[in-house]
Amino acid sequence: MPPIPPRLVMRGIRKTFGSTIALGRVDLEVLPGEVHALVGENGAGKSTLMKILSGAHLPDGGEMEVDGKPYRPHNPLDARAAGVGMIYQELSIAPHLTVEENIVLGMEPMKGLFVDRKAMRARTLEALAHFDHPDIRPETLAGNLSVSALQLVEIGRSLAMGCKLLVFDEPTSSLAQKDIERLFTLIDRLKAQGISIIYISHFLEEVKRLASRLTVLRDGSVIGTRDVSTVTPEEVVALMVGRDVKDLYPRTAHQPGEKLLEIRSLSGRKKPTEVNLDLHRGEVVGIAGLVGSGRTEFLRALFGLDPMSGGEALVRGKNGAANPRMRWQEGLGFLSENRKEEGLALNLSIADNITLTCLERFGKAGTLSPRKQNAATAVWIERLGIKCQDPSQSVGALSGGNQQKTAFARLLEHDVDVLLLDEPTRGIDIAAKARIYEAINEVVTDSIRPRAVIIISSYLPELFGVCDRIAVMSQGKLTRAVPVEKLTPHDVMLVATGKAADLP
């Protein structure tokens, strides 16, 4: 008996767009029943590779095999007929059709001139049997379903066509936590049935949970394939960014210095209530807590974006007016958790976004020199590794990670003493995260003027990785900040969920 051929072989795939080489000789192999993760920074070539696999692009060179047979799709329908299905980030479901009409769309079973509705129903039920979801019935209008249910319909469409290889492109980006768990269970089940899956994700935790191997792409080439069970996050980041990353959370010894910020009984409109916190040069204080506990409201009130209803915030011993303009002048900077709606002006340039708080430095008497703005911006593009064409490109055209670096660079360009960071790494790829952790460590350990940082995060490993002290917000109340050495994630969770009143 001959050995079972791999489900998919891609050999020497090349693709150029004009003068840019999108892919240069990529090899990839996926086994039957394997979940194979594909990771890489934005622009590494993941989507181009998947577009070639799904027939949306033709490769310039190289060959592909599916189950040992040559495979060269000319369009997505070809691909599906050969057993390769794509589940895109933006779902391609027609809202005005029913679930079953969507599932057979483009491959409707025919009886003479008419659609064979009985066959359609049978095929749909067979596909839906993979996931028993109460809302998804063949006759439901797709427009009435939730995003997670639509995703299942999309998966069902591929299964109904007998796809043996499914490609998931960032499938969890628009799902709630419980839907994510349900999707993972489904993927496990599909895997057990021998269906192969290529899973594209920024999130290493998801990759660890699902995949057996991962392949790292960088600048259009495969850098390496590793077993998920043995690879470390540091190794993955190093492969993605192409340089040695010793520690995802770099940490040189922090030296707390003078007191920069003294918060006394600060209260917001509803939350938080009576917050006390001191912050010194050269330290990072983390604020843990559940979403909605008042973490964000605390920083917003401190920065003057929301009204303060009581208490005071002394910056270097002085009690200034709580409004954003004053705070920037005092040397405080705020990074919003919501970069699209608040953090960045998306159709303005990178340079404008980075320099907006300190335009007066770029020209005399109300004038402005775009050249100087661009020159200053170029420094941050280089230092933070912001992937872009040039400083005058609009921020909206950048990937999430690069947008976040831009928003972060604003604080660095303004050269603030206190960085208030609200979820600084949410939803960005791990390489961009590593850059931001590095930058935090750099400013805090600056030999001449060490800065101070308050960081809000829902991700405890991150807080334990970067912070000197952690305080927990629960129902608007903030505990004292305790050195991380004396804490465990468990202690923090107990307070955050209200099962303990204070940190030990």
Binding site: W328, L346, N347, L348, N353, P370
Partner: protein, 313 residues
């Protein structure tokens, strides 16, 4: 660098090419389009809408809108004409009328900022208020300039290129520089692109909006003087619906109604395009209703092109 320069050049080039094409088509139908007289006429006809469109560009970039601008122009025309009948000197009349326009703009801006209401609603109201005020002040009939007053003729007519055209060109350069090379200019873009970001970055959003409406009002005041100069009277019923021409010119010129984008040069090219269509239709004997259809279609096409451009970016 070059790729982006090219893109921003294309944004301006679009309306400019449209202008050349439309001009060329009408020119082929009637070679009179290429005579100096007609060209001068088109330029002169553009002054009023063009001047007001410069101010509207600032408002639209800042994410606002002003529906009352036509009414402000008419009201300021009445004010200017009345002042002329009082035998005040031209500089005084210019300053007073522009200040009056600025006051109207300040009212729009103040209500929008102070009450935190949509400028669409506020200026829909003030459009009627300003229009009505002009009619109340004059009992609905125009204020005619005395026959012996000729000082305002050269602004919108006479031999050679009228002063108003030069003024419009100077204003385009001035406000073009303002938008690109001043802090205030960047603040206008920031407010229109994302008000929350502007607030977060310490930009005084209220002040920026107030200033933008006030400047636009002042430019509408200037346009009012031009409309008085052109017709030798202050007519409270003139410039009806002109706000739509002005807004259309700004949008044809590449501004986005959701804010954060636009150029004054584009807006004036947009205004020129609209005048060209009107003049071309008249010269070719195309009936007025058709002129309206064609102008309207051009606006729709401009908006569609704008959408396509944004999808690509």
């Amino acid at each position: 660098m070059t790729a982006l320069r090219l893109k921003s050049a294309l944004t301006l080039l679009g309306p400019f090419i449209a202008l050349l094409v439309v001009y060329g088509i009408f020119g082929m139908m009637n070679s009179k389009m290429f005579t100096e007289d007609v060209m001068l006429n088109i330029l002169t006809q553009t002054v009023i809408v063009g001047t007001a469109a410069i101010g509207m560009t600032l408002i639209i970039i800042a994410g606002g809108i002003d529906l009352s601008v036509g009414s402000i122009i008419a009201l300021c025309g009445v004010v200017a004409a009345t002042l002329v009948t009082w035998h005040l000197s031209a500089p005084v009349i210019f300053i007073a009328t522009i200040a009056f326009g600025a006051l109207c703009g300040l009212i729009n801006g103040g209500l929008t900022v102070g009450l935190r209401l949509l400028p669409f609603i506020i200026t829909l109201g003030t459009m009627q208020v300003f229009r009505g005020a002009g009619k109340v002040a004059t009992n609905g009939s125009p204020v005619n300039l005395p026959f012996d007053v000729t000082a305002y003729k050269p602004w919108m007519g006479g031999a050679g290129i009228p002063l108003g055209v030069w003024l419009m060109i100077i204003l385009v350069v001035l406000f073009g520089l303002l938008l690109r090379y001043t802090r205030f200019g960047r603040h206008i873009f920031a407010v229109g692109s994302n008000e929350n970001t502007a607030t977060l970055c310490g930009v005084n959003v209220g002040k920026v909006k107030l200033l933008v409406y006030t400047i636009s009002g002042a430019l509408a005041g200037l346009a009012g003087i031009m409309i008085m100069s052109k017709s030798s009277q202050g007519d409270p019923t003139t410039a009806m619906g002109m706000e739509l021409d002005i807004i259309a010119a700004v949008v044809i010129g590449g501004a986005s109604l959701s804010g954060g984008e636009g150029t004054v040069l584009g807006a004036v090219i947009g205004a020129l395009l609209m005048t060209t269509i009107r003049t071309g239709c008249v010269l070719n004997g195309i009936p007025t209703p058709w002129t309206e259809v064609i102008s309207g279609a051009i606006i729709v096409i401009a908006v569609i092109i704008d959408r396509l451009r944004h999808r690509k970016a």
